[in-house]
Symmetry: D2
Subunit: 310 residues, 4 copies
Amino acid sequence: MAISGLLRCGEVAIRVFDLDEARHHYGKCIGLIESYEGDDDKIYYKCPDEHDQYSIVLRKDDKPGIDYFAFKTLKDEDLEVYEKGLGEFGIECNWIEAGVYPKSGRRLAFTLPTGHEMHIYAHKEQVGNGMATLNPGTIPDEGYIRGMRTVRVDHLLVGGPNIDQNREIFEKVFDYKVSEQLISHEDGSRLAIFMSGSNKPHDIAFILQPEEGRFHHVSFLLDSVNDLYHAADLIGKYNIPVDVPPNRHGVTRGATIYFFDPSGNRNEVFTGGYVHYPDTPTLTWDTTELGRATFSHDNLPRESFLNVLT
Amino acid sequence: MAISGLLRCGEVAIRVFDLDEARHHYGKCIGLIESYEGDDDKIYYKCPDEHDQYSIVLRKDDKPGIDYFAFKTLKDEDLEVYEKGLGEFGIECNWIEAGVYPKSGRRLAFTLPTGHEMHIYAHKEQVGNGMATLNPGTIPDEGYIRGMRTVRVDHLLVGGPNIDQNREIFEKVFDYKVSEQLISHEDGSRLAIFMSGSNKPHDIAFILQPEEGRFHHVSFLLDSVNDLYHAADLIGKYNIPVDVPPNRHGVTRGATIYFFDPSGNRNEVFTGGYVHYPDTPTLTWDTTELGRATFSHDNLPRESFLNVLT
Amino acid sequence: MAISGLLRCGEVAIRVFDLDEARHHYGKCIGLIESYEGDDDKIYYKCPDEHDQYSIVLRKDDKPGIDYFAFKTLKDEDLEVYEKGLGEFGIECNWIEAGVYPKSGRRLAFTLPTGHEMHIYAHKEQVGNGMATLNPGTIPDEGYIRGMRTVRVDHLLVGGPNIDQNREIFEKVFDYKVSEQLISHEDGSRLAIFMSGSNKPHDIAFILQPEEGRFHHVSFLLDSVNDLYHAADLIGKYNIPVDVPPNRHGVTRGATIYFFDPSGNRNEVFTGGYVHYPDTPTLTWDTTELGRATFSHDNLPRESFLNVLT
Amino acid sequence: MAISGLLRCGEVAIRVFDLDEARHHYGKCIGLIESYEGDDDKIYYKCPDEHDQYSIVLRKDDKPGIDYFAFKTLKDEDLEVYEKGLGEFGIECNWIEAGVYPKSGRRLAFTLPTGHEMHIYAHKEQVGNGMATLNPGTIPDEGYIRGMRTVRVDHLLVGGPNIDQNREIFEKVFDYKVSEQLISHEDGSRLAIFMSGSNKPHDIAFILQPEEGRFHHVSFLLDSVNDLYHAADLIGKYNIPVDVPPNRHGVTRGATIYFFDPSGNRNEVFTGGYVHYPDTPTLTWDTTELGRATFSHDNLPRESFLNVLT
């Protein structure tokens, strides 16, 4: 009890066209820390306030999008529980041995009804957040926090069909809650589902899309609206293609900027949002308020935001 | 010396269709303080941290835009100096007696080459900022600062032909400096001129427009990017039509939101920007960087921002 | 799994000398919302972004301190599990029927080894956070958030002997984790223990004190350092006795202000702090860094902070 | 008119015991930019958003304090005007040729009634703020802004006898205004005088002290309360001796931290404060509110703040 089971999205494996360009974007501009050296076609990153070895994996490919995403669970024995639970939904799981993914324990791998490959693991080596565990102080050495001053990977949004089945799996197998949902005002069907297993307003979200396995965005947590503005200044400075400049989501009440990596994958920087608990009432938005639900500063839905995925 | 002469834009007289709607917008939503009761067809407002009796005058009319704007000068005898200086530019002045504008000393009134009526006055009664002058403390009573938490009127942008002549008058007669300018990269001609007589990056700006006497926006100063986000939250809540949601100007480096009053007049809330001195180098932007000059978070020029005036 | 069991400190029952004075402090100055009318000798408050009927109960008495604190758990059947778990530690529980505490389900009540009365309940009526659950928007009506702009009750710090036994109970019975601890550098004994069952760096903390049942402080969450400064401005304006003006804790990395209610009970406003997970390494501070652990802006331990409790 | 004459405190010459220690403090911790290489016993710094070659000069000596401070005036011919004006107060001036102070035009040097050596100059070479003057963008390259993220030198506070004579000279010769003053509630005599020649609430302040030529502090402007907290985090990290951790002044309403360089000279980081104009009413604080006037978050006067000068 307390927090147990699926803790967070601990790894997103993104495909990029060119590693040098990607390193400029994720390393220099965003300021992620290259934290592991592996295969030549991959770059491993962590955010400054994450303890685990890496949370973002870039892989060179000729098609953008994600290979998989992985959640960390609290205990290794959770994996068998999940295998069984997923089986009851007809989801077949594969076991990946420890070490296949660097510094990682064994993994349970499976495909969600939306067509996404998801992993679950309980162990990844920890390299710390730049501060000691004995008398750590409050701020790492200058330069450790850089670029957009990200804190950690916050959440993931993916698109595909069958999002209601994903929801059911996350509710029943992982005990996640629907914090918010966007429904059609015509037939009440769910168009987007936001799910939380933590005090964050969402850990993962699903958006209805005809095509399977689509990637909408990975989101990096920032400390404050000031840091969000600082990130926006860098985005402009580096001529990073912007999807949506600073705004606030109706859903989650988080302050946000959306932009694209050089391969067209969407990134978000995010701050704020309310404190979520499993007894927080689920919030529902219908499509009459699509603008307010997505971008509440001008209540204007963005076509690209809704329809561009990789 | 030190700061003398034209201190600031101390009064903007805006035409609105409907006073009740305008009162909802400027009073409730923006949070201006109704600070004088005059004619039935007018509303007088001040911002919380202004000392003078009023700075915004709304007048009911069937055409939006501004009637005039007025600058406060330090000394009453400045007016004769300005009358003479303006005369050298062929500008004819009228004298308006004290009291014609409520609580105001005598005024010099004239029309700028861009077709705008401008007043200069040295006296207006002061009603204070909600705090005493003896042992004032740092924050007024709860409710005095409300709505968008404006601090004061910051600056004004107006459009018309002959902006270079306006510039020359502000330089020669008022000793204002061009802090920044936007020029055509083709012929070097000035398309927008930003002028400062203070430590603010601009007190008034002129944008080239074919038609005379146009009003682009009046800007209200906020304390922080946090208050800018708070203002944006209210703008969304009250369904205020937005021109440009939170962004940062290249010109002035100020953080900004543009929105419209119910009559279509543009308002801005603004925070930040650099400290300007008369020895600060003039910054020039050319039209190859029109996007960055206007909205530096996505370097995207907005058609409406450039072309909608009242 | 996910978040389950003890969710948060949902209720703190504080004794105050005078209800009118207390109402001025908690209602007007802090800005809590009086959300239930009960007995004449009690005031019930909630913070603006809490959904439950109340979270702070003031009771008129001639001795300050707390009567009890209460945690909300996710499911009513958790209570039997806890009764059993507590029994294994020799803790005897009493059952309190639903409705004895207004709008509350049944409760398990018991005394911790530190001498504090603790309740656990699964149900309390919800009155919402001032916004709808269908198309809620992002900001409630003006005036709903007021005073110090608190978001919610964040955590509680209490003092007594046997804090290691409290720790063991929270670890074993409630699955809470020690996020941080302060130990004597001489003998390694724990002087303060910070425990989290959530993504917050602490939900409750225990400080070693010779006397049982002491109250150190209740903490209110704020949104930003800007709001912390705004709270400090109000604290100064209202001449509220201050224990420690704005600073940052080493422990939790949260920004903080400590002050006292008119009866001498300590309050905190708090913002920031890291995102905690059960796999976050426990941080240890020893008494050679007592200053940095408590107040990291000047690394100066405060005598009053360590020793004044009610 | 507009802003003319004495623009700002453009140079403070501080004595330090050890240049390496001082370089660690002012360069690494505060983040000033070493911007000129001169004599072996001096270090020249500028803040990131200043254009002039340097604003802080450190000189190795065995006694802390300041050698002199220098104001920049708008025009070289102002110097003769000031020489005459100062002469009327019986102040004798010396002329220092251009180039004696590196990259500086000729200077007028004199001693104020408080015993401080003051210079006035109109020219200093400009090296810019890390951004171009054509299409500058809004943020310099990463690393240009570092340490405490200072913007510029904001103001200076010095102590000595005869502060009323200093005031008269600044009023009559330089047209500066008393923005605020602290008076004895017993006899109305001025104990501290805050003077502004700009839109800042003060450019220089004088505090009554029996000994001549004392230095209270030099203040560095920051962008936001967030940056103030970041500065405080670094102050704690680097174990910089703190005089007063984050608070807000009653006088000026600026947010502040005071700390000491390794030689005992006091530094301030400062943000906020109101927009000042020459028609802003002078604010007066009397000694019954000495706490609120100095540190308004807890209304507590600090002995060290009032009495420690170098």
